[in-house]
Symmetry: C2
Subunit: 459 residues, 2 copies
């Protein structure tokens, strides 16, 4: 064990001295205070510290998102061994909101690290990957996995099973690429672009499938309206990005009203776009990603943080004039706080909440039912194969990386399944199997992507 | 109008193009999506942009907290002219939580800017100010303002009116000192220290008054236990701060597991202390302030942000060796991100929510009732005079600055009044008058403090 490892362990020991005491105090909470937000404060601290402890997986070359998911799974299933002190986290509505806000901030950060011009270069490839990645699992769900694994169900059930397999949940993949600093790869951009297009297609499929199940047919008007809203939002974002972003950036660069301006403008753009995306029927993360693309940090570089600049100027005041000028020119870019650096702490605060909570919602006991588990494994295999196939449409890049990047399914699939359940088309058993599929695609993708990325590096 | 002002207005125009559209879309929201967090996202953006617009008050030398309060008052009372689109903000439980978290983060930031040694130097003065500032309004409430302005009430009612006048709400004053960069003044530390002690005293008074009203007497056991818990928390914090903080800081400085570690440790300390403070019966902000004092940033200076350091090293790689070394030594402190800089964006995100929401909860229509308004003005005058008197105990400093700094009353006073109302001791009319007193102390303090601070500067 190195000194650094010993120190890390020492640090964690000190840090965690307070936690058991706090949780003990928490367990004695009888709701005597009507104004008690303190439990939520404690849960946030517990989640953040757990996430940091789990980041030890980085020592084994794994992305920290894997650690966050795994520690979440452990925390969420402690109840299986009789420890239920952490159970309130799962039902805390504020933690749930912060978690959603976390993945919105993550996609905003990821949007900031790219821009619309770069995305357009991979646009066609992303479209092809998205199309194959939606059509293949939909067809496979309806005609193969459905009838084979679960014979005798209505065709409506097979329709819904197919639909739940279509939508990629891009958060996991995006986080893996970000953790491993690979967002600049064309494969990363293709997956991100395909996930956005995928979300639009999923929206249309959901509308069609719901209409078929409830009314027996498809109303062309409503489908066109749904599609139009989503496309209007995306087209509007792209046009706004191309026309206005440079101007907004230049304007902003000349305004100095406190250090918070740059941050507020950036985060407000993110939130308004997330809101508009949801109003257009898309996932809020699609809006946040679009906002990040529009706010290309290139246009955001010219803000000065007066406090840091003044500190620096004072510090070098005693140097001779020539050196002073050189110092200033070198220091220049670092005396201005890039928008990514401003957003990063909010990301550190909120993003781990999303992934730990995702892990916590994994119900390991669902896997104890062997017949359901077998069906789930069949659905999972389909989920894997059909998205790997979609990677073949990516052209002259690492097709496996794109294909595996498209694998994670998440909330959208679960929402589809929930709607199917509410329409009495999806049974409880099939719903459980779909949940298990989501778990497998979520937990297996990070190590596979890590392996593929490291293999590429070695070449 | 200067070019800069024109640009600011141009910028705001562009920024706000999306808002009316968004709010229009919001007003058509019929809750068709069970998973709709988008409204809260929009409200956060609305609040943050409103806060930034209101920061134009800085051009008139006023602290931006005043702008945030005033724009909050305007937004919250638009309903008086028939505009009720912003009303949902007031009842959004997530906005309420983010607002509370905002003031917790603010007091944490303010704690970070001081340390325990500096606080101990003003400890006695702070204790005297707190004592006078609790006893004077309590006595005045019971024997003067109560019987004079509201004759014929029970002695229990006067007891409660006195109690509501005791507790200083330190958020407003702290923010004014921070906005005007005056946190280093001894007056600022005295007010902060007195507010902490004040909170302990208020706690004891509430326990005594509640016991007197409900059981007709005071149980010494319960009072001792309440006091002991609060003092245990404070003493524990101070001892922990003195003994452990330097060691934790040095340990942390040697650990490099990603850039988020420093941030996570800091914010988790803040949250756990806020939690423990509330468990000890104190306000969560007292805990957050204590956490900030303990995490003296001096011990936190030695973290390196690998990304920035690498960027810098690459940038200066082409310079000659001698210059390179000089550059590195100058740049050194700025390649390491201070904990304040990491917390600042979270502050920019959450702190304005607290102050805008505080403004929004000001009910202007409460002031339309003349008899209540007159009683309220009498209570307000008492609230002002008794805390100004407390400043006289501050010794050899600007006594007026300390006295006026102690004036703002807030949540604690309202909680007392609410308990009194629930015990049928405080009538609806007196409750309204107390609310108006809180409004006046909140809104008048920032401009008065600003005036006093500028006058001191000129001397």
């Amino acid at each position: 064990m190195t000194i650094m490892q010993k120190q890390t362990i020492g640090l964690m020991t000190i840090l965690l001295v307070l936690l058991p005491f706090s949780i003990y105090a928490a367990s004695g909470n009888t709701g005597d205070n009507s104004h008690d937000i303190s439990m939520t404060l404690l849960w946030i601290a517990v989640i953040l510290l757990a996430a940091k402890i789990s980041s030890l997986v980085e020592r084994f070359g794994q992305p920290s998102v894997l650690g966050e998911l795994v520690i979440g799974v452990i925390m969420g299933n402690l109840v299986l061994v009789g420890i239920n002190v952490l159970e309130p986290i799962k039902t805390d509505s504020i933690i749930a909101f912060l978690s959603e806000l976390g993945v919105i901030i993550l996609l905003f950060q990821i949007g900031l690290e790219s821009n619309i011009d770069k995305m357009k270069k991979v646009g066609l490839k992303a479209f092809l990957v998205a199309s194959v990645g939606v059509i293949a699992p939909f067809i496979a769900g309806i005609y193969l996995v459905g009838p084979w694994l679960m014979p005798g169900l209505s065709s409506n059930a097979y329709l819904f099973i197919g639909a739940t397999l279509t939508a990629t949940s891009v958060g996991i993949t995006a986080r893996v690429f970000k953790d491993l600093k690979k967002l600049h790869l064309p494969e990363a951009r293709i997956v991100l672009g395909a996930a956005v297009i995928d979300d639009v297609m999923g929206l249309i499929i959901l509308a069609v499938v719901s209409a078929v199940v409830t009314t027996g047919g498809v109303g062309l008007g409503i489908i066109s309206w749904i599609t139009a809203k989503a496309l209007l939002f995306l087209a509007g974002s792209i046009i706004l990005g191309q026309l206005l972003a440079p101007k907004i950036g230049k304007l902003l660069s000349k305004v100095h009203t406190g250090t918070g301006m740059k941050f507020t403008v950036a985060i407000s753009f993110c939130l308004i776009f997330a809101f508009l995306a949801q109003k257009a029927g898309l996932a809020p993360i699609v809006g946040a990603f679009a906002a990040g693309l529009i706010l290309d940090p290139v246009y955001f570089n010219y803000f000065k943080d007066p406090a840091i600049v003044n500190d620096l100027k004072q510090e070098i005041a005693d140097y001779d004039a020539g050196l002073k000028q050189k110092l200033m020119s070198v220091i220049h870019p670092y005396t201005e706080r890039h928008v990514e650096y401003l957003i990063a702490p909010v990301g550190h605060f909120l993003v781990p909440i999303f992934f730990v909570l995702t892990g916590m919602n994994v119900k390991l006991d669902a896997m104890f039912n062997m017949p359901i588990l077998l069906v789930a494994l069949g659905i999972t295999a389909t989920a894997f194969v059909t998205k790997i196939v979609s990677g073949l449409a990516a052209g002259n890049v690492n097709k496996l990386l794109v294909g595996f990047g498209m694998i994670p399914r998440g909330e959208v699939g679960l929402i589809f399944a929930m709607i199917g359940k509410n329409l009495n088309v999806i049974s409880d058993e099939i719903f459980s199997a779909i949940v298990i599929m989501v778990i497998f695609t979520t937990l297996l993708t990070p190590p596979i992507l890590t392996y593929l990325l490291k293999r590429t590096e070695k070449k």
